[in-house]
Structure formats: structure tokens, C-alpha cells
């Protein structure tokens, strides 16, 4: 259920601050040392895959696990590096016009789709129009529609995006699902079947998908990035049960398992055949959310009281086994729009009690708390229940089916609950959809004209320095208004066989595998 988005190389090059640069270097260093070895060609990489894939058509993809495959079969118009910066991919360069309303992309030459057709400016135009056409009901339309007025072909290798307004987050969006380029010929020919037999320009060609069993991909010999990929085949094996997934890495039946629970990490670190990789900076955060436009939480002092009463360190130590970090706001540390001076709300029981009295509840109160019925969320809720009891706030826990949790929030059947989001490569990605009054994932009823104005203003600025200052202010204002109580930046783990070389996280948590190789 987590979404991700990206940022721009041009912007990065123009104004990436010292902070972002440090993060980038920190991420790049281990990768460089590994890349010093010569990659071996060949071999089959097997990944223990989480089920849930419905379609491999990226323009209709909703499930996180689908993107594991999409990023191998397809290329995006622009890419992301391990530091979350937008880098060239199918577009080798781009320029933004003076007024910020036109972006011109120069495309790679000699790129072929797996069906043998040519990738060119027409294909880009066709892909964008496919997403934008409301008849097609693509879930990827939301990030593009407010920005793009038209896509025109200047010449076979140059495509121009005409924008309705200057819109800096566009590039990052084009590194994510809206930016995937599918083969127009295959998509037209296969129609609804395209999601079962995807055709792209990516490093691996689709071979077979046995539903709920496995997806097989093989090396695309005509791949345009010379010398890549190193692997011959990639097999995603569906393993729904996390215990079985870990067993399979230990027995060598699969080479990599992701989505590993923190509680299993100490046990795995003792296995000499395995390597545990932790994602840094934290790619996800957890939070509590409520309806700020309905009683009882339309009371800011009450929201602040609860935020102050929560001990995030305890949550980290007890539930996350010491991994991760207490959250200050919606921006994970290490991202270029994260304010290092910002401390967040913090934990202070006396202040919490004062706020509670100020809110009109000197003797405390009780409220219904909806929780997804999984062991992980139930455990967290029980801990919160105990913490909030200290200021006399009682939680009546109501478990719901995880599959229904979000639709119940949208239908306003849920007032107070927990949530979790993944970082995207552009600040607008999460901040706009969650906290702008018009954001399509704003399910709290939060509306602060000042925040709306800052977010609108920041999205129209291409210059990183000025944008960053605006997002610093936005994060402080949002955190103080408490539409969400930010809990923790969570740790994410992958466990792999020792022979897997050059593994690297992109902070959207989706492995790319084109640089990865297997030691013989």
C-alpha cells in the first residue's frame, strides 16, 4: 500500500544542498567499493516475492509487489539513483523553459521494445495520452493530470511536455509509475491482456507468469544500456508466508527476501551464508491519523496532548527492536527537504496533561481506535493504549480487515486509526496528496490555507534552495497542526545469499537488479 515518487537531476545538480550531498555520498560509498570488482555474467536470481500482483501493466499497477517486476521489464522516462535523485534513463537530457511551463526531453537513440518495435517520441506521447485519457481509468492519472496540457513530438528523438503551470514535481513523477513506457504496439494488440504479458524496453524480457506461483524474466539481449544486465534470468517466486520466505533464503531456494520483520533480524545475522541489508535513510514512516473536521479531534489542543503523550522511543525499542528512529514529521532524515534543526513534538507527559485540560478534558476521555487486524498493528496499538492511559486517554480498540481499512477511511467510517506511507523522490509527492486541502489522499479533512499556499508555491519553483525553505515551513506547520501524529521512521530489511553482489536500495524500496550480479 505504499507509494513512492522521485526528484530531478537537473534540480539536484543546480542546487543540491550540502545535506543532500552528504546523504548521497553516504549511500554511494559502499556501492562504489563493491563495483570495483568485475561483475560476473550469467546466473538466475530467485526472489521470494510477496503475493498480491494483479497486473504487470505499470499504468494500472497499484500493488507494491507489481513494481518489483515493472522496474525490470520497463524503463521509466527518467530514472532514480540510490540517493533518490532524478537521473537520465529513456530521456538522456532535458531542459525546462524560462517560464517553467515547457519541458523538452531528448531521448536515447537505438532503444528497442522487446517486441522489436522502436522506442521514440511518438511512443512517449502515446504513453502519456494513455494515462491521461479518463476513459482508460488509470490510477496514474492523478499526478499528471493537474500538470500536463499536451505532449508533442518535436522530432523522433525529442518530446515536449507543455504544462498548465510551472510544475517542478513532474520529473520525479516521471521516474515513477506515471513515467513507465510500455510498447504502444503490444498494448494496442493485447488490450486487457497486456497486464498479463507486459512488453517494455527494460533490461529483462517477460517470459511467463504462473499466477500465485512465479514470474520468470530473462535477459534482454538488445538492451540499450551496453553490458547490462549481468543476470541471465530473474525468477520471482510467490511465497505468502514470511516464515517460509525466510526459510527459503536459509535453504538457498531463493537468493533474496525483502519485507523482513525486525524481530527476525538478530537470528539471521548469525547465519554466515546470509547478508542482511538495512535501508537508510528510512523509506517509510508510521503515524496515527484522525478526522480533524469532526469531533472529538477537531480540537487542536486535544490532538497535541495525544501527540505529546506518545513515547516514540519506547515504540522503537519494544516493537522495532531498536531499529528505525522516532519520527519528527512526515519527512525522513537524509532527504534533501528534511530540516535537520526540526525536533518535532517530542514526549512530555506534563505538557500533555496541560494540553488535555486546555482541550476541555481535565479528567481524560475515551475514543474508538480502528486497527488493521494484523499482529504487528495490534501490538503497536496495545502499546499506545498503555502509553495514553498515563494521561487518562482510553482507547477502545476496533479491529478491521486490513483489505478494507483504507476504503473505510475514505468512506469516513473510521475516525482515528494508524497509517504508514513510503517516501517519494519529490516532497510534493507525499506532502501535497496528504496535507493539501485538495490532495487526493487527504483523508483527515485537514485544511490550512497557509499550508495550501506554501505547497502550491513550492510546486511551481524549480530551484531547490527556495523550494526547500518552503517545505521546511510546511513540515513545521503540519506537525504543529497534528492532522497526523508521526510515530517512527521504520527500518526496512532485505536478506540475501552471500553470492548476491552489488545489491543497492533506492529509497522507494524497489530493487532494480540491472547492476546486480551473482558470484559464481
Amino acid at each position: 500500500m505504499n507509494r513512492t515518487r522521485r526528484s530531478s537531476r537537473i534540480r539536484a545538480a543546480r542546487g543540491l544542498g550540502a545535506l543532500g550531498l552528504t546523504a548521497l555520498l553516504a549511500l554511494a560509498l559502499p556501492a562504489v567499493s563493491v563495483e570495483a570488482q568485475t561483475p560476473a555474467r550469467g546466473g538466475t536470481l530467485r526472489i521470494g516475492w510477496i503475493p498480491a500482483a494483479k497486473t504487470l501493466d505499470p499504468h494500472y499497477s497499484v500493488e507494491f509487489s507489481e513494481r518489483y517486476v515493472c522496474y525490470l521489464v520497463f524503463n521509466t522516462l527518467v530514472g532514480l539513483d540510490r540517493g533518490f535523485n532524478v537521473v537520465p534513463e529513456l530521456a538522456r537530457a532535458w531542459q525546462v523553459s524560462q517560464d517553467g511551463k515547457r519541458v523538452t526531453f531528448q531521448l536515447q537513440r537505438g532503444v528497442k521494445f522487446h517486441d522489436g518495435t522502436d522506442f521514440n517520441a511518438e511512443a512517449v506521447k502515446w504513453n502519456m495520452e494513455r494515462i491521461l485519457d479518463p476513459q482508460n481509468k488509470s490510477p496514474q492519472r492523478a499526478p499528471l493530470e493537474p500538470a500536463i496540457a499536451a505532449v508533442t513530438v518535436a522530432d523522433p528523438h525529442t518530446v515536449v511536455f507543455e504544462l498548465k503551470k510551472p510544475f517542478a514535481p513532474l520529473l520525479a513523477a516521471l521516474a515513477e509509475r506515471p513515467g513507465f513506457i510500455v510498447s504502444p504496439a503490444a498494448a494496442k494488440q493485447l488490450g486487457q491482456e497486456f497486464g498479463q504479458r507486459p512488453v517494455g524496453t527494460g533490461p529483462f524480457r517477460f517470459v511467463e507468469w504462473v499466477r500465485d506461483s512465479q514470474v520468470t524474466l530473462e535477459r534482454f539481449a538488445d538492451y540499450w544500456e551496453k553490458g547490462k544486465p549481468h543476470l541471465d534470468r530473474v525468477i520471482y517466486r510467490v511465497v505468502p508466508d514470511p516464515t517460509v520466505r525466510l526459510t527459503m533464503v536459509r535453504t538457498g531456494e531463493v537468493d533474496i527476501a525483502t519485507d523482513v520483520d525486525a524481530k527476525d533480524i538478530p537470528g539471521l545475522r548469525g547465519d554466515a551464508n546470509l547478508v542482511v541489508s538495512e535501508m537508510k535513510p528510512a523509506a517509510r514512516w508510521t503515524a496515527l491519523q484522525w478526522r480533524v473536521d469532526e469531533p472529538p479531534f477537531n480540537n487542536k489542543a486535544l490532538r497535541q496532548a495525544i501527540a505529546l503523550a506518545i513515547d516514540r522511543n519506547e515504540i522503537r525499542d519494544v516493537l522495532l527492536r531498536g531499529f528505525g528512529e522516532p519520527a519528527r514529521g512526515p519527512v525522513s532524515p537524509g532527504l534533501w527537504w528534511s530540516d535537520p534543526a526540526f525536533r518535532g513534538i517530542g514526549h512530555d507527559l506534563d505538557a500533555a496533561r496541560k494540553k488535555l485540560a486546555e482541550a476541555g478534558y481535565p479528567n481524560g476521555f475515551r475514543a474508538r481506535f480502528v486497527v488493521e487486524n494484523t499482529p504487528q498493528w495490534i501490538r503497536q496499538t496495545e502499546l499506545l493504549q498503555a502509553q495514553l492511559q498515563k494521561i487518562n486517554v482510553g482507547l477502545d480498540i476496533e479491529p478491521v480487515n486490513p483489505a478494507d481499512a483504507y476504503s473505510r477511511i475514505v468512506a469516513k467510517k473510521t475516525n482515528w486509526t494508524h497509517t504508514r506511507w513510503a517516501q517519494r523522490a519529490d516532497p510534493n509527492g507525499l506532502l501535497y496528496i496528504l496535507f493539501h486541502s485538495k490532495g487526493h489522499a487527504n483523508t483527515t479533512g485537514y485544511s490550512n490555507p497557509k499550508v495550501d499556499e506554501i505547497l502550491d508555491q513550492a510546486a511551481a519553483i524549480y530551484e531547490v534552495q527556495r523550494r526547500r525553505d518552503l517545505y521546511y515551513t510546511a513540515e513545521r506547520t503540519i506537525t504543529e497542526d497534528v492532522p497526523y501524529v508521526f510515530l517512527n521512521y521504520t527500518a526496512e530489511f532485505a536478506v540475501m545469499n552471500r553470492k548476491v553482489q552489488n545489491w543497492g536500495w533506492v529509497p522507494d524500496l524497489i530493487p532494480r537488479f540491472r547492476d546486480l550480479w551473482l558470484e559464481k
Binding site: M1, R3, P51, A52, K54, T55, V62, E63, P134, K137, S138, P139, Q140, R141, A142, P143, E145, Q192, G195, Q196, V210, R211, D212, S213, Q214, R237, V238, V239, P240, D241, T243, V244, T247, M248, R250, T251, E253, N401, P402, A403, D404, A405, Y406, S407, R408, V410, A411, I433, H440, A441
Partner: protein, 314 residues
């Protein structure tokens, strides 16, 4: 027999109508909005509304149900909300795996249950009997997801003789296929096996104490003939009726087993479809399973008549 068949078909049709109507009724009362689940957290409201309209989910439930029933009458099972695949095709692709698992498990359960039950009954209150009783009590009491995990840890992780999970197509690699089916089959059969073995033991003990067995022995028949022909044939009847009852339970167990061992069967499809509120697929599976359970029960009734000449159908 024809009257019987007609009566069974009518009962089956009624069950299907009742079950599918129930699902439709529950769908808006209890379940979440399938469109929000399908489009996720990133879609805009306009796209959500458009898809809801296109799938006909904006209409009243009874209209949706009548429409679905009307199409079904014309042989159109519809398409999956989530994948766009034709429902019948999606189920047909999964059915062989589930059927194979069910029949293998049933076979293993019946054969071993008879063997263990008879063994225990022949020497009542012996060490063998006690051992079998303890084991079968244990097997009946253990939930099968737990048994599955224990089997995986033992055979895949420690002994490394069998794969942890997954399936291999029979035609690609018959041996690999069989190896992959061992743990799921054992997991699914254990509860039935243990239940049946206890039943066989009790019924055999009962039969061995009857007058006709004493008569048979008095006639000087060989003990093996007394056991296999006289006693067993009479104790097998209740076993058949238990089998009939457990067909639906077998399917329930298959859902869990398929999920843990990642076998791409109907069980996983059903769970996924329920979680994803994929109603056309859920309805399709309910029909297929209902027909399957009715058909097996019918076959077992016939088997009953074959085994017991006193049973006659009017």
C-alpha cells in the same frame, strides 16, 4: 436413481442461489469498496467514480445480482474485477492443482487411516494401540498451519530433503513435482487421517466383537478373511459418511495449505478474491465448489450402496 439425481441437482441449485445471493447482500453491508481497493491510495476521486460506474457497482445490490444471474444463465461468468481475466478461465487454471492436492491427501488419509485403525484394533490396549492413539490425538488437535511450519522446518531447513514451498509443473519435472507435493499432501491429510484412523479403530473393535465375526471365526475361516471381508466391510460404512462430510472441510484446509506452500490453487484464488472484493471470482468459485462438494457426496452415496447391499435408493 433419476429422481435422486434430480432431487440432488435441485438442492444444489438452491444452495448456489442462496450462497451467491448472500454474498451479494453482504458485499455492500460488510465489505469495503472494491474500487478503492483496486485503485489504491493514489487514484483521484474522478477515476474512482468512473471505474465504479463502469463495473456497475453504483447500482443497487439487487439489480447487480439480477444482472449477474442473467449473464450466468447465458453462460457468461464475467471477468475478474482485479485482473480482467475471464472468471471461468481463472478458476480452470487453478483447479488441477487443488484437485490433485485434495485427491492425494484423501488417498493418503484413507489408506493410512485404514492401516493404522486396523493395526490398533487388532491388538487393543497394546503398546502399538497406545502409540497410535496418542499420535492420532495429537494430529487431530494440531492446527494444520502449525503442522505445515513444523514440517518445513524439519524437512526443508534441517534435513534439506524436500523443498519448502512452491510448485513445479508435472510435465516439466515429474520428480520435482512429486517432491513439491509431499509436504502439502501430508499437511492436509494429517487431520483427516487421524480422525479417520480413530474412527476405523472404534468401528473395527465394534465389528470384531459382533456375533457374525464370532460365527465366521467358528466356521474356521482364516483370520485375514475374517478381518478384511467380514469386519472391515462393515466398519467402512461410517468412514464413507465421514468422508462425505469432510469434503467441504478438506477444501477449507486446502486454502490454508495452498497459502503456506504457495501452491497456485483455487484456495489462494478464493482468499485473494475475498480480500480484494473480487465478487465475480468469489461467486464463480462458490458455484464450482458447491457443485464439486455435491458431486462427491453423490458419488459417496453410490459407493455406500455398493458397499452395503441393504442401502437402496427409491
Amino acid at each position: 436413481v433419476w429422481v435422486l439425481i434430480l432431487r440432488r441437482v435441485a438442492a444444489m441449485a438452491f444452495s448456489i442461489l442462496f450462497l451467491t445471493a448472500l454474498i451479494f447482500a453482504l458485499m455492500q453491508a460488510v465489505f469495503g469498496d472494491p474500487v478503492v481497493i483496486m485503485l489504491g491510495r493514489d487514484a483521484d476521486a474522478d477515476t474512482v467514480a468512473r471505474l465504479r460506474r463502469d463495473l456497475g457497482l453504483d447500482r443497487p445490490v439487487h439489480v447487480q445480482y439480477a444482472d449477474w444471474l442473467g449473464r450466468l444463465a447465458h453462460g457468461d461468468w464475467g471477468r475478474s474485477f482485479r485482473t480482467g481475466q475471464p472468471v471461468l478461465g481463472a478458476i480452470a487454471a487453478r483447479l488441477p492443482v487443488s484437485l490433485e492436492l485434495a485427491f492425494l491427501s484423501l488417498f493418503v488419509a484413507v489408506v493410512l487411516a485404514l492401516a493404522l485403525g486396523i493395526l490398533a484394533a487388532v491388538r487393543p490396549r497394546s503398546a502399538v494401540d497406545a502409540g497410535i492413539s496418542v499420535l492420532t490425538a495429537f494430529g487431530t488437535a494440531m492446527p494444520n498451519f502449525w503442522i505445515a511450519i513444523l514440517l518445513i522446518l524439519l524437512f526443508a531447513l534441517h534435513l534439506r530433503v524436500l523443498p519448502s514451498s512452491g510448485s513445479v509443473p508435472l510435465l516439466d519435472d515429474p520428480w520435482g513435482h512429486l517432491r513439491a507435493m509431499v509436504l502439502p499432501t501430508v499437511t492436509l491429510s494429517i487431520a483427516y487421517l487421524c480422525n479417520l484412523a480413530r474412527l476405523v479403530r472404534a468401528k473395527m473393535l465394534e465389528a470384531l466383537a459382533t456375533d457374525y465375526v464370532r460365527t465366521a471365526r467358528a466356521k474356521g475361516l482364516r483370520e485375514s478373511r475374517v478381518l478384511w471381508v467380514h469386519a472391515l466391510r462393515n466398519s467402512v460404512l461410517p468412514v464413507l459418511s465421514i468422508l462425505a462430510v469432510s469434503m467441504s472441510r478438506l477444501f477449507g484446509g486446502a486454502v490454508v495449505t495452498e497459502t503456506i506452500f504457495a501452491l497456485p490453487g483455487v484456495g489462494i484464488l478464493l482468499v485473494d478474491s475475498i480480500l480484494g472484493r473480487d465478487f465475480p471470482v468469489v461467486q464463480g468459485i462458490i458455484i464450482v465448489v458447491t457443485v464439486g462438494v455435491f458431486a462427491t457426496n453423490f458419488l459417496i452415496e453410490i459407493a455406500y450402496a455398493v458397499v452395503d447391499p441393504r442401502v437402496r435408493y427409491q
